[in-house]
Each structure stands twice: as structure tokens, then as C-alpha cells.
Amino acid sequence: MPSTLAGLLQAGSLVLLLALCYRPLGDYMARVYSSEKHWRVEKVLYRIVRVDPAAEQRWTTYAAGVLGFSFVSIVLLYLLQRLQPFLPLGFGRGVDGDTVPPAMAFNTAVSFVTNTNWQSSVPETVLGHTVQMAGLTVQNIVSAAVGIAVAIALVRGFARSATDRLGNFWVDLTRGVVRVLLPFAFIAAILLIAMGVTQSLRSGVDIIAVDGSQHTLALSPTASQEAVKELGTNGGGVLNANSAHPFENPSALSNLFEIFLLLVIPVCLTRTFGTMIRNTRQGAVLVAVMGVIWAAFLAIAWISEANPNGPAAQAAGAAMEGKEVRFGIPGSILFGVSTTGTSTGAVNSWHDSYTGGAGGITLLNMLLGEVAPGGVGAGLYGILVLAIIAVFLAGLMVGRTPEYLGKKLGRVQVTAAAISILVMPTLVLIGAGLAIALPDTLGALGNDGFHGFSEVLYAYASAANNNGSAFGGLTVTSDFFQTTLGIAMLFGRFVPILAVLALAGSLAQQRKVEAGAGTLPTDGAQFGVLVGGTIILVAALTFFPALALGPIAEALS
């Protein structure tokens, strides 16, 4: 079978798998977040932590819960890393001895709590199993549940009428963990082991190879974290090579399964949205927009990667630098486009070695605000904010107060939406601009010319969008990069969350208005085009100059 046809069948089977899950999983999640009944294990949990699950919260209380939980998470994760020498299963791992230095521990803590999962260490030599399990695996699950909770609060803002209550953050968080992420991750982890992923409590295994050389291969409790690394769109590798490492992603089958896992919740959440507002066509429009962007980006990146223009790739005969044979170009590009369209940031091939076109697509995918289909929860609230902007723009054209899903979009709503989408570009452009202005940055680049600029732009795009993938040639160990990237992750995560929750609060307070003759229909192809156009337009206007200096220049070289 020709490689191209096989690659198309591979992408097609992925879409088919997602389509099969769309209704059942989407509707299941809608029930999870709408049900009045608490599971027995949840009731026990609420009693232990002394929260009243029946108490509905205002948006401010909900937001305080998100911030408080995330703050505590950062502190605990920081302490766990710093206390590694005193914890079991540490195996003396660390930097220069058995400790994790403060700056690295802080960066990792912020990174995993904000669902970025940017790796600033080589995990198999720095982090012991206790930090991996009790620290990182926990945040892989709960940071994803926080994202879904925020998205559900926004959906309730549309669904509810004349109330100042958005639900209970502790209940939403707990249900996301107990009913969605944990059970599915558990099943996925077992399947991954069956496909060859490791799950060991030993530090490593000694082998004497065929040539007599001795090696110690690092082992870890990989599968339990790998499953939720993808399912929760986290992306931080248990091992340094991430999903390129054969112990994390052993075969073409596990590769497809991991891509499926990282897409399935963001895709199905659009159905959850449609079901909760009792109009599933509204969700179908959004998932169609996501799907068209994803497919178009996949096509562009694939064509570019199959026809490399760099002299080194041409000399090699194909762009196989930084790719694994078992995945090939189609399996690598499928992963790369999916991981940057969600906020996953896991990689099975090095984006820094991609061609200008394909690398530029992974960068642009993040700069769109990660909505194709976006991170768990973050993708849904991201595209809903952009839908609000689209309705607002359409309203400006006809000169009337716009409304979306029966809610008027006035000054408050549009301001909140605008703040939410402007934070990321601000962080990316100021961060990358500052970094480029510093003379030291030149020494940190792994490649020169246009590609070197792309490395810096990619780093801030990845941090501000909580993606976590990297053009890894850039050395980010300096205090400047550690600090500014850490700030970008924090603001890129929590400012949009606060804006979205404020938006949700203001929407819930409104009474629903009946659709009139002048109401823009938002459940058809016309609106899909409008939202897609808005997504592209906002990103293009903001980032075209920067993209022209990096990937576009390289692609045209």
C-alpha cells in the first residue's frame, strides 16, 4: 500500500473513532455535570473535605475555588520535588546529586498545575517515582478536571436564566475526576501496557547487549501517567523523549491510540455543550469548525513535510530527522497537528526539526488560541469566546445588539470575551520581543536564521497557551526564560479563566430573549464560516508580522 494512502486511512480511522464516541461520551459528560445525584464515594469525599455539595456558588466563589486549588497545588508540587531526597522510590535522582533545584521545581510546578506540562528537566534522571506519581500524575488529572469545570460553568451561564449561581466548583472538580478522567485513564493505562508501555516501580533494568556493552534502561510507572497525559491534554513526558520514547509509545497502534486519547474529550465536549443547552446543532457547528481547521492544517503540514525545502532534509532524502521509523512522516504529522491543536504538547517527533511549513502550522495551531479542538475544557470555552466575538462582529455589521443562544451580548460580555482572547497574544508578543532584544538569547538558539526566531516565538506561544511542546533546540535554562515563561504560563491560564467565569456569571443573570427576525442563526453552516473566519482573522491580524519573520520566511526559502 502506498504511504500516502496508508496515512489517509490512518487519519480517517482516527476521525471514525472520534465520531463513534461523539454522542455517547458527550451525552455522558452532560449527565455527569447535570445530575442531582451524588455517588456514594463522592459523598464520602465531600464529608472528608467538609464541603456542602448542595451549595451553589456565585462566579466569584467558583473562581476563588479555582485559584485556591491551583495555588495549593503549585505549593504542594514544589514541596514534593524539593523534598525528593526524603521520599521513597527516589533512587538518588536529581540534578548534581539527589535534589531538584528551586528554579526547576518552581517551573515544573507551575507548568503541571496550569496544564502546560512544559518539561524543564530530563525526567528519567531528575525525578523519582514518588514525585512522578504523587506529584505529576495527580496534577495531570486534576488540572484537566479544573479545565472542564470552567467550561461547564460557562455552558451553565448560557443554559441558566436569571440566577447568580453557576454550580459548585468542588462538585464539578470531583465529578470530573471520579466519573470521567480516572475511570477512562485506568482503562487506557491497561490497554497501553498491553501495547508495550512500561509500568514499573524499579529504577531501571540492566542489560548486556549483543556487542557486550552494558546499559541501564530507565523504567518508571509510565502507563498510569501516559494515559492521563493524553486524555487530559497535559503532554508532559514521563521520559525525556516524551511520546517518541518507545517505552511511552511503542508502536503505530499505541500512536493512534494516544492521538485518539488526546482528542476525544475536547471533541466530545462540544456535544456536552449542545446537550446541556438543549440544542445539539449548536455544538455540531463548533465541532465542524474545529474539524475543518484540524484537517486543513494536517494537509498543509503533511504536504510541507513530504516535500522538504531544507538542504539537510533534501540531502537525507526525506524529513526523517527527529522522527521514529515506526510512525513515519504521516504518523508524526498527525500527532504534531493534534497535539498543538489541543493544549497537549506531547510530541512523538521533534517539531524543531519540522520543515518551515509544518513547524509553522504547529505554531499557528497554538496561536489560534488552541481551538482545533483545544485543551480539555479550555478548547470549549476558548471557541465559545470566539463565537461571542463572531456574533458581536456580525452585530456591528447590521447595527443591532447581538445575541447568542438567547443571551444579549452587551458591554460586559464583549469586554470579558475580549480580555480572554487578548491575554495570550500580549504575553506571546511581549515575551518573544523582549527575548529577541536580549543579546544573550542568540547564544540560546539551537538553529540560526529564520528558524532561530521561530524557536523563541514557539516557546512563548507554547507557554502562554499552556501547550508545553517546544522547538527544543532553544536552551531555556536561563533565569530570564524560566521566569518569563513561568509568568506566561500562569497568566495565560488564569486570566482567561477569570474572564470566562465573569462572563459566565453575567450570562446566567440574564433572562433568555426569544430569537427574533433579526437574530443571527448560530446553528448552521453560515455561522460556522463566520466563527472560522473570526478565528483565522484574529490570529492573522495579531501574528502575521511575527510569523512572516519566522516560519513563513523559512517555508519560502
Partner: protein, 210 residues
Amino acid sequence: MFSLLTRQTAAAVRLLVVFTILLGIVYPLAVWGISRIPGLAGPAEGSIITSADGTSIGSGVGSSLIGVDPVAADSAADPFFHTRPSASAEDVLGPGDTSTSGGSNKSGFNTDLLDAVNQRRALIAAREDVDPALVPPDAVTASASGLDPHISPEYAQIQVARVARVTGLPVAEVQSLVAGVTDRRVLGFLGEPTVNVTELNLAVAAAAQR
């Protein structure tokens, strides 16, 4: 506002402690427990290939998932099939550092990478005594993990004649050993065809000993 934050944060501390026990200890250990059942224990512990005499896990001769380039005692009589280059290797070819994993992160316009590709092509063509144009892309590019156990069937093919000559095995037998570790695409359309170098070298060594 302040009291609201402190009250919520206090609840957060309690919930995080419970979640750390449930998700950070119970969940991974439960997965580990299930991975002890026969059939899963092998992959869970690194897909280690134990030596032909059947000794226990821990004294393996390799992992079927990890590729480390073997070094011949005498480079003029090299009996091994070679893996792809590793970015962590000291020279353009040769074994990578197995204590870590990763790629070169060099772009297609990187002149160092261009030099490395050209050097590798010349070295491999000389080693195998073939036309440099026959050296396939995966042979001259560093893998993503630095530990790629696989090569393309094309790269295996150009190594067959040398391995047969040095080991004294008939070319047809080496060909059949290659075929034995060659996997077509999973389900016919996932990924790319692969040849497992780690398994192949063990099979060749076993055949040569007979």
C-alpha cells in the same frame, strides 16, 4: 473577598490531600498491580529479551523496544546490523547515551545537520560497499528518541551482504532472519514497515553460533 479566598483555599488543601492519595498512590499502584498478571508483566518491565538460556528478568540481552547501536570489536569485520543514528552519540554514527533520550532538534536549514547527513551517507556507503544513493533517509537522520529500535527494510537490505560475509552465514539465511523481524504496517495501514534491529542482531548471533 479575602475571607472567601481563605475559606476556599482551606477546602482546597483538604481535597488535594485526598486526591493525592487516590490519584497519586492508589491509582498508579492499582495499574501496577494489574500489570503483574502474565502477559502484561513483560511489557510493564521493559519488554526485556532474556538470553537464550532462559535466565530471569534482570539479566536481559536487550529490550525489543530499545535500539542501541552495537560496536564491532574489529570495524573491518563488523557482524552487526546497525540502528539509526542517535543525537546523543559522540560521533555522527555509533551508540547513543542510553541513560537519557531525545533528538537533535536541528532544522532542515541547519548546516551542522547537513554536514552530519553527508558524512553518515559516505561512511555507511563505504561500510556496506554500496552506491551512496542507495543509503535510505532513516540511515542518515537521528531518530526522535535516540533509541529507535527500528530501521526501514531498505536500510536492512543494504546491510545483508556484509553481515552474511562477516558471520559466514548464507545470504539467503540472513535474508530470512531479516524477514522474521520485519513488521508490515499495523493492521495494514498504521505507521510504516519496520525491521527490529535489536531482535535481528540477536537472531543473527544465535544463527552464527550454531
